[in-house]
Symmetry: D2
């Protein structure tokens, strides 16, 4: 793979060593116990992370982080992805990292001191409430949650689900319609809502892939029943909710895709190790099977190509900004999600029955990362978005506006 | 799809009605609670099945069943497969159905009265202990468990895993080497071992895809520590273990493949229903997306073709026996497992985030039926077996015997 | 594969023997010389076919054929497909077979005696002019060719391409708009046009996949410049053109799909033979490679399943008619075309460089049968058609009518 | 895509302009006439190339080239690949470019002045005779052609095929066994043989994908019947043939893969243009179909990722040499060949019937570039080679040496 700076290599090595010493040994427990039971143990490890000066690689040094650029952090994210608890330990896990970036860039002084600082320190957790059960996640401008202005307050009413990590969060950033009459992309705002505010109803953690979920590792259904928060809790301008959501997508996509490639690397190592040592008959390792060899080679090539693509997009975001790079940001979503699924599938097949068990993290990723092709907009939406821009550049009228402002395909 | 007799249609309709009334409504509970908690409720439903004269469709009428032929039962199996508890309710679930067929065909009078009759009545459950953690499941003649003759007893020592449904079973049928000096395919015998025999150690239920497992819905790791059973517990001749295992494969494969196609039908219905009703924007259902339409059409075609293939193999087993049909029996394994995986994957994608939840059975099947490509010999083994016979028929020397009797590819 | 009657087996054997003796040895010439140079040789073989009482298996005995039912002919079509000249030799090649069926069912006495009888005897050839370069073939109701009534004549003006086998044909059946004001599916009629009529301009044979084409093996671009034919040349009612085209699709699809499966069988045999005999190193045949084995097994399974699907559809057309079976007729189009492409691709890969040459028929099929996914409506159109009906049955409004009568997806 | 230097961009633009002005307009003729008829026209264009100072971008400036580095030339190769005659016009077409590089690096003074200089000037053409019909191309050390020392001469006897561009070549570089007793990888040498030497028998141009081939665009079968050449015609040391062949593979692979990506770019543009302009019904362009959009997006992502992978390997070859980069060199072979096939397949499907014709270059590439997965070692060999090294690094014994020196899988 491509040349990396020595500094980056050294940094990666530090993170890898930390994972090997502290994260990998905890995986069995992570895979077999509710997350909430592990929180104290994880807190101890987070303290070790701070001691080791590895905390929050994505945050500026002034804020206690490592001050890495986006491409630098991308490399680190791939290392952390090798453990299901890697990002959490470093306080660069979704959705907290996105909320940190948002508040850092757009929060008021008050918002920053009240919410951002403790979040950056890992003293609290947060969540991001956007998706609604009644509306397709693939159409982000179509939602029902309303924030009605009442004096200096918003009164928020709505129904959200797949609000990841809501259980135990100190606050949610809620996407809500503040002006139903505005153009579709200007209707919503992002508003900070303390989770202990009156009217925030925790309906349930949604059982996902057989797991009830708890604490950080959960996806909640929430109701907001006339929840009153001061207007000063709004992040950015009124109506800027969608634009802010778009903005967080760029770097967030890089984090996710590199995390997926980290998962791929770990799965690949496990697959190779299994193939090299598992015997089909005495003296005949599984890895001599041509079919297994082909899987290994195909995975390696796909992973290498995908990694270069993501890093290239990271550099372009830094150079040209998220908007100019939006096709790349969409492409890595579906492209890397596809690589991830194929690598995990093959790694499991090489492990045979063992691959179905929780004796390795493969089965965990296989089921939970199935979501990679769905969340943040299903692959299909991103493919169409990329293609429509390419076709428009070739002179095609890509469709009529419909009432709700979406281009028809 | 192909013409079915009216009698078959009527029978299928009866089973479908029973599932709709009794099984589908229980699914949420099945998906969220340990199986063992549901056993009493399921026992009530089993009583209803008997009342409705639907019990044990695969067993002769004289034994309380419906006396269906293999192709007839195949059709029923596809209906039952639409619910994760369908086969269990009818007492035709693996591994009990295989053990029933084995004891029915090869059991002594004593074995039949002691084990088969209560099993056929659903009064007890059973398991089948073959796979060993230290040996590749893809090489069934390579195992370590020994049954050493000691007077009129066998003393069994060994280590098994993925012994499905061992928790709560009354007995296991254990595959053990009775003559290590014999030719590889003649080394092992199948021996009935009561689960409460001294030395049967229940190590654990193996966590599979995030679930600990319990009772029927479990996969155990077992140790046999000098377990002593009378020689009369052996099924068939000494050394016949492998041959008997092969024999059970034919009809068992039909059951499984039709069950998978039943899962496909259910997933397909859910997918179509979702596509027809979920709106992307007001008045624009998801099913108008061309990509979704293509998935639906491809699934329908693949499912129809696969079903015809399985039924054809079922008829040929009836007409010509399992041995003559072994290529077909291998082919439906990997072919239908592939269809199953693709149908489930697409059904989940069409459901979006909902597909990841346990609000539908899709996620359950997605994770647990990943095993379809692994158990009963991974797909790759079956593909090579089919191809080697085709190539041998074309005059190729397919390989040398190795010491352990396997053909090298 | 499924049980066939002994009579069918005997018939298939006769056809196979004829091909082996007469068709296979001519293939090299077929692959290296223009078709027109082979016509005399082929005429001699056609005489032999008649002597052997194998002529026109699809036609009634009274008309000099074998009187086979659709499923019976389907089996024969698969045998004939094994040679690129099989159907031609038997006079059941497209487009003549479709034109024969059409004229047989819907021709007037005069049309039958003038055109059908010599066509059935193989004394003349014919073509079918439908597709137009300016309009997407996937929208069959959208065309420009007009047939304007003028007294007892039609005056036909239009531009057609991919009129297969036009060179050397005695007549074309031309699809032309007879009432531009009618509902879209009622606008066109099918009209017999002698190829030597004044105003029929043979523009060119369109070079396809590097071959200029000639005689039967060609695809012409034609212009109809005020071509005058008597109204009695119209087949069926005015405005029935589209309905008749639909009708011919059912049996025609069976012919094509079984021909494709015949190609698959031949390619499969060649692949197996090559794998069994080609050595990678001394004593190490290619067929011992696991990857090759997997391809062989996957091809066999896909081919068997596809064949059962096509035969099932053939039986259903006989039992219930083309309209009731239209989903099946669409499904086999894209499903079998996919199988065909995969089998040919793998057969070529197993042959290595030899597979690229014209020393086998594989390369010919690889390039020309790429069209299987395009002609008679691209796969995508058939997939959407199937899905829309399934979705409509599930209650979805599949789209609005547009001005030209097509449902929008 | 990734940042390129301005100089590179300018250079690419020059080449692109030249192609658009001179190469694209000649394509129809190229696709419809034998190459040999075009040679004079092409010679004129080559003269224009020299005038424009674009000649031989891969050669040092001192030798009349542009002196580009491997990564720089890689970029140019992608531009040239957009036309089927691009590389030929610039004198950087295979096999001449490989022969140039070989003679430049390893030729004696005499060899360079006699063969290399006129080759570099484009005054003569050359070929490379390695593959033999009786031996699998995937095992390069297994061949039959012998060069027996007789005084100061070699007497060469053997049978070669797929010697591309032999017709019209001034000389061949022939791979022949010079020491049958040596270790397998030391048996052969590369020897210059003038094509007019006594005993060089031109058997035929092998018809490939329906084309007889001529001049540069041909693949010959040759026999060497006691062809006598001086020992000084040997390139490099005796026994170095295989090592030299390996060495040429690295840069040659970059050329090929970037040429393939150039083909992809052109096919992609054609596909997008067609989708943007072809109407399915009035006002409804094909590009609004979601399926077409998804193909476009997937192609774009795969092409971008593949390009980054190839460029990365090019940089690594420059930095670390071919040997250290051999896994990358193998990976780009099969990875990019796969991308190429998928892009061409989709581009044809979007074009419908037009895609089957020779009115675009798509059909030409579709059939001839099918060889991309076969020549220079089939994909499967490269996959296994990569995997075996990965597995060996993980401690696996990848196989035993067989008599002929190949590792068994």
């Amino acid at each position: 793979m491509t040349e990396r700076s020595e500094a980056q290599d050294a940094l990666n090595a530090q993170f890898r060593a930390f994972l090997e010493t502290h994260a990998f040994p905890m995986e069995r427990e992570f895979l077999s116990r509710p997350f909430r039971e592990l929180v104290p143990q994880l807190a101890e490890l987070r303290a070790k992370v701070k001691e080791a000066k590895l905390w929050a690689p994505h945050l500026p040094k002034a804020l206690g982080g490592l001050g890495l650029s986006l491409p630098e952090f991308a490399e680190v994210s791939a290392v952390l992805g090798e453990s299901p608890i890697g990002h959490y330990l470093l306080n660069c896990n979704a959705p907290d990292i996105g909320n940190q970036e948002l508040l850092h860039a757009h929060g008021t002084e008050a918002q920053r001191s009240q919410w951002f600082i403790p979040l950056a320190r890992g003293e609290i957790r947060s969540c991001f409430a956007m998706t609604e059960p009644e509306f397709a996640g693939s159409n982000p401008v179509w939602m029902d949650t309303q924030a009605v202005r009442d004096g200096d307050d918003y009164v928020i009413t709505g129904h959200k689900w797949f609000t990841s990590s809501a259980e135990g969060a100190a606050f949610a950033i809620v996407m809500a319609v503040t002006d139903p009459m505005a153009a579709p992309h200007k209707r919503a705002s992002q508003i900070i809502v303390p989770m202990d505010a009156k009217g925030v109803v925790f309906v349930r953690n949604i059982p996902v892939m057989g797991e009830g979920g708890s604490d950080y590792a959960s996806h909640a259904e929430l109701r907001f029943e006339s929840v009153r928060v001061p207007v000063t809790n709004r992040i950015g301008d009124e109506g800027a909710g969608f634009a802010l959501a778009q903005e967080r997508l760029g770097p967030g996509r890089i984090h996710h895709c590199m995390r997926w490639l980290g998962i791929c690397e770990r799965a690949f190592r496990l697959m190779v190790q299994r193939a090299a040592t598992r015997e089909l008959s005495p003296g005949e390792p599984l890895g001599r099977q041509q079919g297994v060899q082909h899987w290994i080679a195909e995975c390696r090539a796909e992973m290498d190509a995908a990694r270069l693509l993501v890093l290239d997009v990271a550099h372009r975001i830094e150079r040209e900004g998220s908007h100019a790079t939006r096709d790349g940001i969409s492409m890595i979503k579906f492209h890397v999600a596809g690589v991830l699924q194929r690598v995990l599938d093959r790694a499991i097949q090489v492990h045979g029955a063992l691959g179905m068990t929780d004796d390795t993290p493969l089965a965990y990723w296989y089921r939970h990362e199935r979501g990679a092709r769905i969340y943040d907009g299903p692959d299909e939406v991103h493919k169409s978005a990329v293609a429509r821009r390419i076709l428009a550049a070739a002179g095609m009228d890509v469709g009529r506006k419909t009432e709700d402002g979406r281009k028809r395909r």
